[in-house]
């Protein structure tokens, strides 16, 4: 079963704009991870945020985590056409199992 609900399901923006994706989950977590997937290929790990962290940055990526609301957001700043992909959040329990959301499909128009 899917734990996460991702919002929006699809997002279309112009190059240079920022893209924000949200993820909500249901149970307690050890950490939350964000992945990118291009055209049905393998998942590329973007960033991991632990349950005791509130915000994390990596290059143009900014992730926030609110455990009281059981939600996370991924912000991609100054988007590029190469950022076009599907983005998934995945929650990790204390057993290491990852539970994925349905994903957000991002299209960045040049």
């Amino acid at each position: 079963s899917q734990q996460g609900e991702e919002d929006p399901q699809a997002l279309s923006i112009q190059e240079g704009e920022n893209a924000t994706m949200n993820c909500s989950y249901k149970t307690s977590i050890n950490n939350l991870q964000w992945y990118r997937q291009n055209s049905g290929r393998g998942l590329v790990h973007l960033i991991l945020i632990r349950s005791n962290e509130r915000e994390k940055h990596s290059g143009r990526l900014r992730v926030t985590l609110d455990t009281s609301k059981k939600s996370s957001s991924l912000l991609i700043t100054a988007s590029r056409a190469a950022d076009t992909a599907s983005y998934f959040c995945a929650t990790a329990s204390n057993t290491g199992k990852l539970i994925f959301g349905q994903g957000t499909t991002l299209q960045v128009k040049p």
Binding site: G40, F88, T95, G96, G103
Partner: protein
Amino acid sequence: DAGVTQSPTHLIKTRGQQVTLRCSPKSGHDTVSWYQQALGQGPQFIFQYYEEEERQRGNFPDRFSGHQFPNYSSELNVNALLLGDSALYLCASARDRGLYTEAFFGQGTRLTVV
């Protein structure tokens, strides 16, 4: 570092047949998990192998089985294939069951059942 490698890349099988998919984890990783991703969906956890034993299992029937070898590589076997088993099968590796670190994924095996 070759990362996580999976074989084959694509596979076409007939209903009722059996299939074996293979995965070599990233160097230094001892845990392998398998996921099934249907078209347009997020990956679904099948099972996790650590120390050559199945440690966790998702909501998949017994037709799905696996194995982990002493070198940490892993196989996923699916028996009595159904049309609904058509999907992208992803292997992920991690250290120490992935409890505190990220998982790295292979490029996947695209299985088509006809």
